[in-house]
């Protein structure tokens, strides 16, 4: 046996029989602390959801989805107005925010000069806008609705405007990331054939970026659907009818939950708990759709 093999064999034996350095006291304490943090974070969430589900369990029935809010038959009160209102708000929010957000991202990523001072200012502001509290967007929407001459601002248009402003930075940022992921060689190849910047974007870059854009947009919308603060500022009230257009009065699911959970009657509180689970399912559904789109259509270059 040569010297080298002997040394190697000795090292292997020592390593396998000796105490692992990953098992000393400090490591174990730290590992325990990490486990506890994880446990704490997840358990609080799980406990909350289970508690809510148990509280709401008597009301997991069809009336919850199909009935309006009722002070007479409290045990049959439902969230039809809130669910339909939230769907209307999402639709109009999407119509306003998606084209604007994608267009802004295309400008910044494909057309704007990367060195211009103006564009750098826009970039920094976009990052900051994504962190602005949602209630601020509600106030902005109130102001805009006032300028447009609406006295009563709790309508689909007002709510959608606040939510659109809220998710616009998210859409711009995720769209830019999706566009940036398209390799430059594709653009160069297009330019070299005599295509304009617009043709290159429209026919090549944008279609390649659609899965990423869709994912980001859905995640933005799923954030908007859970928001109550900006709608509160707009004064969305309780309504007992379905929205019929952008100017019809509306309520949203989070708003209705907020109102009923603070009501004194137990039946309303139970209904609110059940509605929270409905809202969670809607949000999880949208996130699942986003993940599905990402996994199904994402391209590796």
């Amino acid at each position: 046996m040569s010297v080298a093999t002997q040394t190697a064999a000795a090292t292997v034996t020592a390593t396998l029989s000796g105490r692992s350095r990953d098992r000393n006291v400090a490591s174990l304490v730290f590992l325990g602390a990490l486990w506890f943090s994880l446990f704490f974070g997840v358990m609080v969430l799980v406990a909350l959801i289970i508690d809510t589900a148990i509280t709401g369990s008597p009301r997991f029935d069809l009336n919850l989805l199909t009935q309006y809010e009722s002070t007479i038959r409290k045990d049959e009160t439902g969230f039809r107005a809130g669910i339909l209102g939230s769907l209307w708000l999402m639709g109009v929010t999407a119509l306003m925010a998606i084209p604007l957000g994608i267009a802004a991202a295309i400008y910044l990523e494909e057309f704007a000069s990367k060195t211009s001072r103006f564009n750098r200012v826009v970039e920094i502001n976009l990052q900051n806008l994504a962190a602005v509290p949602s209630i601020i967007y509600g106030m902005l929407a109130v102001a805009i609705m006032g300028l447009l001459g609406y006295n009563y601002k709790g309508i689909v248009l007002g709510g959608a405007m606040a939510l659109a402003l809220l998710i616009l930075p998210v859409i711009v940022i995720t769209t830019r990331e999706a566009l940036r992921a398209v390799p430059d060689e594709i653009r160069q190849g297009s330019y070299a054939l005599g295509a304009t910047v617009w043709q290159t974007t429209w026919r090549n870059t944008l279609p390649s970026a659609v899965p990423g854009i869709a994912t980001g947009t859905i995640l933005g919308l799923s954030r908007a659907i859970g928001e109550a603060a900006p709608l509160l500022i707009l004064g969305l009230a309780t309504v007992r009818f379905d929205p019929t257009g952008v100017e019809s009065k509306v309520t949203a699911l989070p708003m209705q939950i907020y109102n009923l959970s603070s009501a004194p009657q137990l039946d309303f509180q139970v209904a609110a708990s059940a509605a929270i689970i409905v809202l969670l399912v809607m949000i999880l559904g949208m996130n699942a759709l986003a993940i599905f789109i990402r996994n199904k259509f994402q391209r590796s270059w």
Partner: protein, 291 residues
């Protein structure tokens, strides 16, 4: 890489003239009625002087190779010819780039129109994430070319790039399913579909294996009958195999800043460059003593 292979190959340098595939081609010493010319071309990237005073003429239906060590500015010169350098932030060009006597950098010249006449094939095959058919049809569609029958045009372009027989049954399939060499020939087909006058190739074979390289080189020799080809290559044997004329560039470090500025050392018939170069630097490079 160049030095390793060339030192093996170049002891029999004298034989290069014999293996030269078109040794019989009788060409004038300098291009008559050149398709393209650069006159005192200087390129800057911001403050960085990338290329100094390049004067070159590219002959019609000839393959011109531009060789030289890394950083010698050959790709920069190539990208000036169809104004692809416009896309690089801070790039700035002085001097003239003449296409049939007209300066492509003159005021009022649309770079998009320039690129429809002077196509380009890149180092890494870059098919679009579309079907093979749509890859070929892309150029004619965006340039608004009048096409009687797109199917015929696609077939013609694919035949022109010697790819038709391999892909005729899967035109609607994604171009990403092709091998690297097929993708590069697809990119060449895509370029000739717009019926350009000049085809620029920026190290078209550097990402390909030797067999795919040989096929692209054969294709270049075929295409020479219809197009003017200007190719940048790191591979000196490739320049010797396919080109009619060779321009040798080198980089000269600035004494104060240390920035390397590219300049043209020698331009001549390929057979002369590889058998009897005038400049010591050319001889050193092709015999593998530097670079």
């Amino acid at each position: 890489m160049a030095s390793a292979t060339s030192s093996d190959t170049f002891p029999q340098m004298g034989s290069f003239g014999d293996v030269h595939m078109h040794a019989e081609r009788r060409l004038p010493d300098s291009p008559v009625n050149p398709v393209m010319e650069t006159r005192d071309l200087n390129v800057y990237y911001g403050d960085f002087h990338a290329v100094h005073d390049v004067n070159l003429a590219y002959g019609r239906h000839e393959i011109t190779a531009m060789i030289g060590p890394s950083g010698c500015g050959k790709s920069t010169v190539l990208r000036c010819l169809n104004r692809m350098n416009d896309l690089v932030a801070g790039a700035h060009v002085e001097g003239e780039v003449l296409y049939h006597g007209q300066d492509v950098y003159a005021k009022g010249v649309d770079p998009i129109a320039v690129r429809t006449q002077i196509g380009m094939v890149f180092q890494k095959p870059n098919p679009f994430p579309k079907s093979i058919y749509d890859n070929i049809a892309y150029g004619p569609r965006v340039t608004g070319m009048k096409v009687d029958n797109m199917d015929d045009l696609v077939e013609e372009a694919l035949r022109g790039a010697a790819l038709w027989d391999e892909v005729k049954d899967k035109l609607k399939q994604s171009a990403y399913g092709l091998s690297g060499g097929q993708q590069q020939r697809l990119c060449i087909a895509r370029t000739i579909a717009t019926k350009p006058d000049v085809i620029l190739m920026d190290e078209p074979c550097s990402a390909l294996d030797p067999i795919a390289t040989a096929r692209v080189e054969d294709l270049m020799l075929d295409l020479r009958n219809e197009y003017t080809i200007i190719v940048v290559t790191h591979n000196m044997q490739q320049a010797a195999r396919v080109s009619d004329r060779t321009a040798f560039f080198t980089a000269r470090p600035d004494e104060t800043t240390g920035n390397r500025t590219g300049l043209l050392v020698e331009y001549d018939l390929t057979s002369t460059i590889f058998s009897n170069p005038n400049d010591k630097r050319t001889e050193d490079y092709i015999s593998g003593r530097f670079g």
